[in-house]
Amino acid sequence: MTSQQEVQLIAAVIAAACALPGVFLVLRRMAMMSDAISHTVLFGIVVGFLLTRDLGSPLLFLGAVLTGVLTVSLVELLNQTRLVKQDAAIGLVFPVLFSIAVILISRFAGNVHLDTDAVLLGELAYAPFDRVVWQGIDLGPRALLVGSGVLLLNLGFIGLLYKELKLATFDPALAATFGFLPVLLHYSLMTIVSVTAVAAFDAVGSILVIALMIAPPATAYLLTERLSTMLWLSVLLGVASALVGYWLAWALDVSIAGSMATMTGVLFAGAFLFAPERGIVATARRRTRQRWAFAQQMLAVHLHNHAGSSDEAEECSPAALHGHLRWSPDFAAQVLQRAERNGIVRREAERLWLTEQGCRLAQTAGAG
């Protein structure tokens, strides 16, 4: 495999691994927890490094994951005092841990390769050079192995606890009465998010982790209402943004992580505008259709009410619509045209008649 292909594979695997827990973050209104975790992970890495003095030590990974869980616990703790709301608690906790981490780096680890730029941005392009070699056999880039492991872990977690997660997400109270231990589920999910964030963080930096976790599920949520569909759609969208983002970055010679994040945004914008049922365009078209349908219904009701009354001749004429229904002459003419075309109204000189279909429409409108 060339290193280009390897980078793409790593990007795709990590995008898929991030999208899976991201779906639950989005549904459980905890999207910003990914922001907090992806920033505080640095703290765990730095402390792990200061203890072991080895950037390759698995203790760093462990430390980072534990910090993620610690962040969640601190936020919950602050929230439970009822002195601070959850969003404010998140906004308080992660800057503190991040600040301590930055100070620790600049004070004690300034000369190692732990610079803060790489933390925020990651460097995917260099990922293939960090390889795992076991007994002389090249097993592949470390980021790919770690990423695949985390992807499998996430698949296993969601596969095993699918029904529990689903219920705890949509109806926590019912889940609790069934004895599903929502708190335990919550912390397991947060551990999964931390593990994923740490694994992804090495390759793509802390900001892209948020993009890959939140944007594809948000996009999928605009396209479907089924959890299972949302899950695979998120993975698909994540992988698509990763690959397209990679090629754009390659063509324009810019940051891979940045370009992947931009692509997740482009896909979201596409869904926001053009989603078949909930997109802006679809909604606007539906509104217009409803507006004309409603106007025709009003016309039918108007004609029906005055049919057979003494002022019938005067009211049931095109000229009366403007004054009576307060429609502008243009609008009235257009409604009339549509109503005639749809067979609701028949026109004889200056007199309007309801067809049989028009009568039915007026009656259902009155009943409804």
Binding site: A31, D35, R82, G91, T116, M213, I214, Y221, T262, I280
Partner: protein, 334 residues
């Protein structure tokens, strides 16, 4: 404390430290006051999103005008931050996505796009772009007198607007529905107030950087909230806390090598929060613990003497709302 004061005093003559401390104080006042709205309106993380979203604006302003003038770069930052805020309002209105999801997405996508633009900027031969990355983590040491004046100007403008629209913003923060029934242009006010928060964020970017800016907005307000139930005193306190933490953080960071200014300011302001959460009268945790102890003692005493009172006299906590949903509806406790 005394040591700190002494170091402040002896270092005050140093031009750089004085400039940085003044800048930090300006930032603290602005973000402290405006942060009150963010916290009360449960938009604490708005600042975080805005500060990340400002990055493409900064780089774009640089690419378009080819200057590193702080005023122009901040204008770009404000533009991008405001665009993100408008997108936030419009996406949450038109879809069923929750605010936190949209915040997280806008934050990371804008930032990612900023990175793409940054790569373009770095290809420019002028090489003046080195200054752009200072906004990521903030480099207080690069702040010069002119920057402080720019920040102070922007901040003062924001504070004047707060004073002018005092009653409207207050109503919007506590009871937007009532504001709407009074015929106030709620949506317009919402956009305006969000723009002010963007201003506060922009002022702090060079000082503490995009990541830590959210703490500057949230922390002073949360700390001040513990000491009072009134908006005016809360804002005053938040401004004081913010400015104090700014100065202390700046001076501390100058006292030893490797203590970056942004993180030191954030740690100072977070210490104020911790102190307030613990010791603020009536709301603070220690205070509440003593209250519980005293109630228990009174109850025991009453039971031993045979007259169990129907209601135990206690000082009511300011937030007697055990059910978070009720608190949410009222939307007044912070």
């Amino acid at each position: 404390m005394l040591e700190l004061f002494l170091s402040l005093w002896s270092n005050w003559g140093d031009y750089t430290i004085r400039t940085v401390a003044l800048g930090a104080a300006v930032l603290g006042v602005t973000s402290g006051v405006l942060g009150c709205y963010a916290v009360l309106r449960r938009q604490a993380l708005l600042g975080d999103a805005m500060s990340h979203a400002a990055l493409p604006g900064i780089v774009l302003a640089y690419l378009l005008f080819g200057t590193r003038d702080l005023g122009i770069l901040l204008l770009g930052a404000a533009g991008a931050g405001w665009l993100a805020a408008l997108l936030l309002l419009s996406i949450t209105r038109h879809t069923h996505l929750k605010e936190d999801t949209v915040l997280g997405m806008l934050l990371s996508v804008f930032f990612g796009f900023g990175m793409v633009l940054l790569a373009f900027a770095q290809k420019q031969p002028t090489a003046a772009q080195a200054g752009l990355s200072r906004f990521l983590f903030g480099q207080a040491a690069t702040v010069v007198e002119r920057d402080v004046l720019t920040m102070a100007g922007i901040g003062a403008l924001a504070l004047v607007l707060v004073a002018l629209f005092w009653k409207e913003f207050k109503l919007l923060s506590f009871d937007p529905d009532y504001a709407a029934t009074l015929g106030l242009p709620v949506r317009l006010l919402d956009v305006g107030l969000t723009a002010l928060i963007v201003v506060a964020v922009v002022v702090g970017l060079q000082m503490v950087g995009v990541v830590l800016m959210s703490a500057m907005l949230v922390a002073p307000a949360v700390a001040a909230r513990q000491w009072t139930d009134r908006l005016g005193p809360m804002m005053l306190l938040a401004g004081i806390f913010g400015a104090g933490a700014g100065i202390v953080g700046a001076v501390l960071s100058a006292s030893a090598r490797g203590l970056s200014t942004g993180p030191m300011i954030v740690l100072s302001v977070s210490s104020i929060v911790l102190f307030s959460l613990l010791f603020a009268p009536r709301r603070g945790l220690v205070w509440r613990w003593f209250q519980t102890q005293r109630n228990a003692r009174r109850l025991r005493f009453a039971m031993q003497h045979g007259d169990v009172p129907l209601s135990v006299p206690t000082a009511p906590p300011s937030d007697p709302l055990p059910d978070p949903r009720i608190a949410e509806q009222k939307g007044v406790s912070g």
